[in-house]
Symmetry: C2
DNA sequence: CGAGTCCGGATTGTCAACCATTTCGGGATT
DNA sequence: AATCCCGAAATGGTTGACAATCCGGACTCG
């Protein structure tokens, strides 16, 4: 086993003094150190910079990221909740994989349940501002698609759904969605995408239009189709650890 | 506002030196301090010793439980993942409630998805030891029912399902189930039970028998019925915070 | 030669004390 | 009455040190 010199970016330190406080910011880069650690690790895992089964050592990560062990521990707990990592007492954390089976039989169905309910619920409460915010994400997604920037497109995808589900105002539903999504994302990043970026943009454009009609009969079928396309025929059997 | 002298038990300290190491223990009371804190708080919240909306202060809890803030912080993160608590940056953690709506439209359906898959999957892999362990839980449940000990009965209920789902060997499925269950349990503890303890015992006895046939056609319908009875007509609308 | 035992390094879990950062409520000011 | 400001309360983060545990390898003993 060769020592793999995994280098995670050491976390920006500069306070960016000329930055004004964003009122309705997209919500990036902000918050306590711990959150930044979470994002750094999540990105690294989803991008495949850690193999499933690989151990994550607190001290190593903390020195690498330039923080103390505290934030790293919290981040690992968070990632555990997002299903990207599993940790056992005194044994530490290992990166998890996702199997075809669980994606198809559990994760996707749960996503369906969550989003079907949230979208229907959100129809009653969404404001024009919400629609605007969503439109912004669709636009960002278009731009990303044009330049073939998969990461940016997926980020906009995430925001699109997050906004709607947040608008539904259902605490647990939102929390569950946020714990499900990273696994699905990791799965597709690892084992190939299903449809094209163009299709993805089109899906969301249509979905936004449907939302604006505030008619569940319009929205639900589109939503279901959109989510289900993410179910390719069972490729190579990939295991968890 | 009167200072509420909430007293959580200060966590047992004695190492119990005469205790022999259990080979196939039920797995209770063990593990790091943090886990004990989790259980103490989870029990307290589910038992209703904290009202939804109530704040949980790290320093207060740590002195009350006789540990430092570290384990308490970890415990709060864990409870957040179990949906019993929500915390915002620099604002701390507040106890969450569960609405009828989310239970019926989201939590129960997810539980159905998870357990239907797990049980079917477990049929292929369960050993005689597994069945024995389940039978033990059924027996414990019977005893608890006889003495009207609701807490013990629910604990056995939990173990029953946990064993089967563990046996299915699906990492994410198990993890999701463990994050869903506490909310459902809290909901029923707060807003009344549905069926009797006797019914509950009978359900599980029948379920065990079905499992032993290893026939999905037998198990699935029983399981679905068992889970769905947990859906009473929408009682008083209870909100989250 | 294989099984059990022991040991020490590596890593996680916990503690304590301390400071930085942020929130929030209330009072003083205008 | 609205605003600004301040300080208390709490959380977030740091450091350094230990304790508890796991794991792999060397060692012993049948």
């Amino acid at each position: 086993m060769v020592a793999t010199p995994k280098t995670i970016e050491p976390l920006a330190v500069e306070p960016a003094p000329t930055e004004m406080a964003p009122v309705v910011d997209g919500g990036l880069k902000a918050g306590p150190r711990g959150q930044q650690v979470v994002e750094a690790l999540r990105t690294a895992i989803i991008a495949g910079r850690f193999e499933p089964g690989e151990r994550l050592i607190e001290s190593a990560l903390s020195t690498e990221l330039g923080t103390s062990r505290g934030p790293v521990r919290e981040a690992l707990r968070q990632l555990e909740n997002e299903g990207l990592v599993m940790s056992l007492p005194y044994r530490g954390a290992v990166v998890l994989g996702v199997s075809d089976e669980e994606v198809q039989h559990v994760l996707i169905p749960i996503r369906l349940t969550v989003e079907r309910y949230s979208f229907a619920k959100a129809l009653e409460t969404m404001t024009e501002d919400d629609f605007a915010e969503i439109a912004k994400q669709v636009w960002l997604m278009e731009q990303a698609a044009k330049t073939g920037d998969l990461t940016k497109a997926v980020e906009a995808d995430l925001q699109f759904h997050d906004i709607v589900i947040s608008a539904s105002g259902q605490t647990h539903t939102l929390q569950i969605w946020r714990s499900i999504w990273p696994r699905i994302r990791a799965y597709f990043f690892r084992y190939g995408r299903s449809s094209s970026l163009e299709q993805m943009v089109e899906d969301h454009r249509v979905l936004l239009a449907a939302l604006q009609t505030r008619d569940p009969k319009q929205v639900t079928p589109l939503l279901e189709r959109h989510i289900q396309v993410a179910t390719p025929p069972p490729g190579p059997k990939k295991k968890d650890r």
